[in-house]
Symmetry: C2
Subunit: 137 residues, 2 copies
DNA sequence: TTTACTTGGTTACTTTTAGTAACCGAAGGT
DNA sequence: ACCTTCGGTTACTAAAAGTAACCAAGTAAA
């Protein structure tokens, strides 16, 4: 179904309230921060499991390196999305969980994840077609 | 308000349908593709204006370079999110608009944009607090 | 006693990606 | 003859991501 006029007005409202001639646009700022390879995925995982340890997360996010997981979690912690709890044991135990702010982010993120799951086929089909088109030229 | 059990189950469902032991996880794949500094913002802009020319987009996305706009638009075109129409005039005129697939992406992205606008204050507050905490140590 | 192993990182280095600035083509205007 | 326009491309540099080795400090086995 097509995008309604009402929805388009909503986009306009968000943009005008957020961006018009201001130096910092929150939408762009947030998109730039959470738009990277691992951040959203990490938040979704924490949303599913509630409390996760460092290596538990690492196992679930296949392909992520120790360093990138650290960097990603630190950034989320800095933004108040994730709470880090260190238990001073040996070997150390660290638990990560979403804050209230993080949980509020979970909802729109879940919508995006659902879109991704539903439309990944279409996207892959389009990519294939595009590749073919360019080879033919 | 907290995340409901139902919502958490939904996250689990999306993940289990998408990721369990599969080589490619669509959620991660899409998040990795559209998770960059400019892509989501560009889609939102095209969602608002419907048809936009290259330089028109460039003016609205302050800070983006010509090259990055080209790269971003090409990637979106490849994924079937954006339609590029070249009018063979001199000087050339190129119009970009969302495809049907792109418009379907607009809805979850808008939810995310609304979250960003509503919560940017909280995030900035958290960042400030985090910075202070680390200076004190 | 020495060795290996644990967790949750950090450090140094390499590779990939993003960003900057200059250039392009082809017509129109001065 | 030269500048402008639009929508790029090319060559180069800076920044970010990825890789691999290392660490502390205790526990467990050899």
């Amino acid at each position: 179904m097509p995008v309604t006029t009402k929805e388009r007005e909503k986009v306009a409202a968000v943009f005008s309230g957020a961006c018009t001639q201001k130096k910092v646009c929150p939408v762009k700022d947030i998109m730039a921060s959470y738009g990277d390879k691992w951040t959203m995925y990490t938040v979704l995982l924490l949303g599913q499991h509630q409390k996760m340890r460092f290596n538990e997360l690492r196992c679930h996010i296949s392909g992520i390196s120790q360093r990138m997981l650290t960097v990603t979690l630190r950034s989320l912690e800095e933004d108040g999305i994730v709470l880090r709890t260190l238990y001073p044991e040996i070997p150390p135990r660290v638990e990560y969980q979403l804050t209230e702010l993080g949980e509020s982010l979970l909802k729109p993120l879940l919508q995006l994840a659902i879109w991704a799951e539903e439309n990944v086929g279409e996207v892959l089909k389009a990519r294939k077609k595009y590749g073919k088109k360019n080879k033919e030229e």
